[in-house]
Amino acid sequence: MDTRIDLRVDGEQRSLTVDTRTTLLDALRERLGVTSPKKGCDHGQCGSCTVLLDGRRATTCLALAVAHTGSEITTAAGLSDGDDLHPVARAFLDHDGLQCGYCTPGQICSAVGMLDEAKAGWPSLVTEHAEDSAALDESELDDEEIRERMSGNLCRCGAYTNIVTAIREASNGGNR
């Protein structure tokens, strides 16, 4: 069943007609040619399809495109301004947080969303005293916190060590 939908993708207004079965990931990649989000598992398990959906990190392979008409989507590509990389992307490059690079766009979107969550004081399972709703100072995110909060992104190349370093540095940088 075809339906007309509107999306704002990386700042650009896009309209298209999709079959109701189309996922947001397939709409982006196959229909709009936005290939920054990657299809890894296609079942919500790997995080490589992560984008910022209305400002929050979300996997797109289990989201139906029709259900998200009117949404604002930012992909890893859209986070950077041309050659001016987003600080998180910059940190990935500086710390060699990528090998094949397949998981990287999802990792970067997830890290950006995650740092905002931490800034808003959201707890994680490793947060001590989750009862305290006082805002968590994101510069206090230690490696254990970063690993827990980023656990939805799997990297088959095992670039984790450098990814953690990159995110730690980006969170300390503070100028996101």
Partner: protein, 330 residues
């Protein structure tokens, strides 16, 4: 995936009528379970009614001191909400131990409760499964049963319920509010999910077209302490092998009241009433915690590959109680 129609509902009555009128219609929440099932061919609805824009996205204090959680509240928002973290930490912890940050941003309260089993045979449409196709048989029984039930199973199905949140809600004595073709009703969370019996295809007591509108938490006495503890194959982002939600009231060195539910062990969140009974009035000692846990697990019947869950459940329960006894409050 067979073609389907999609409609966005803007009021509950319309959503209930749209689904109630058609046997092939179903509600769509965040889609993180349903869309997976569409892809796998586990379910083939002809109409999806998207309920995520219904006005059930708030977390409100109730006049009786409890809290009402709207059915479309996202798991991440619920876990982060101050009133939940302060008054029901067990619920916040359970949510944070489920899925990943990205998925919790999509998943809803109603959808999380109604997510279906992760039994690998249920998810593989090429294998017989009584839950997916009634009467076809259970592939797990003669298959690999590491992740399956040790309590309350039947010869027709040995699957476990995967939700972490539901385990915490069971220990909190939460009530699910639903509205359906025959009006509204409240169902204690502990009665929402069913044991498999000879009808494992029915996960819950809900009738077709019944919509979850909210989950209501009762007020807890100030002195209550609660905690969720989950054991899994890796440190994060995996379903529970065994989990424990415990809510205790302790007076001096005595347990006044205990409410405990176990996850990963049964077809539904398993309310550990035998352990609860053993704990009421018992001293807060390692021995009484251990013997309560032993009494509960004495009823368990392991399968070929999951005998390890017995000591795991016993020890996790004992350790959770010990932790809580050492805490100040809540």
């Amino acid at each position: 995936m067979i073609p389907f129609d999609y409609q966005r509902a803007d009021h509950a009555e319309g959503a209930v009528a749209a689904v109630g009128d058609r046997s092939g219609a179903t509600f769509l929440g965040g889609g993180t379970n349903l869309v997976d099932h569409l892809k796998l061919g586990i379910t083939e609805p002809e109409l999806l009614i998207d309920i995520t824009r219904l006005p059930f996205d708030a977390i409100d204090p109730l006049p009786d001191g409890g809290v009402r959680i709207g059915a479309t509240v996202r798991n991440s928002d619920l876990a982060a909400e101050a009133i939940i973290r302060q008054r029901y930490p067990v619920l916040s912890q359970a949510l944070l131990s489920g899925a990943s940050g990205q998925l919790r941003n999509l998943a809803t309260t109603g959808g999380n409760l109604l997510q279906r089993t992760r039994c690998p045979y249920f998810q593989d449409v090429t294998t017989p499964c009584n839950k997916r196709e009634p009467g076809s048989g259970c592939s797990a029984l003669n298959g690999y049963t590491r992740n399956h039930a040790i309590l309350g199973a039947s010869e027709h199905c040995v699957a476990t319920h995967p939700s972490d949140m539901a385990v915490a809600l069971a220990a909190l004595d939460a009530t699910v509010q639903v509205t359906g073709p025959n009006g509204q009703r409240g169902i204690p969370v502990t009665d929402l999910h069913r044991l498999p019996g000879d009808e494992p295809h029915r996960d819950t007591v809900l009738e077709h077209g019944e919509l979850i509108t909210s989950v209501d938490l009762p007020e807890l006495p100030r002195s209550t302490r609660s905690r969720y503890r989950k054991v899994r194959d890796r440190a994060s982002y995996a379903f529970a092998l065994v989990s424990v939600a415990a809510v205790l009231e302790i007076e001096g060195d005595t347990v006044r009241e205990a409410r405990i539910a176990l996850g990963g062990v049964a077809h539904k969140p398993w309310r550990a009433s035998t352990a609860e009974q053993a704990l009421r009035g018992a001293p807060t000692t390692e021995e009484s915690f251990r013997s309560a846990a032993e009494a509960e697990i004495a009823q368990a019947q392991p399968l070929a590959d999951n005998e390890f869950k017995l000591p795991m459940a016993r020890n996790t329960l004992t350790a959770t109680l010990r932790d809580l006894a050492g805490k100040e409050s809540r």
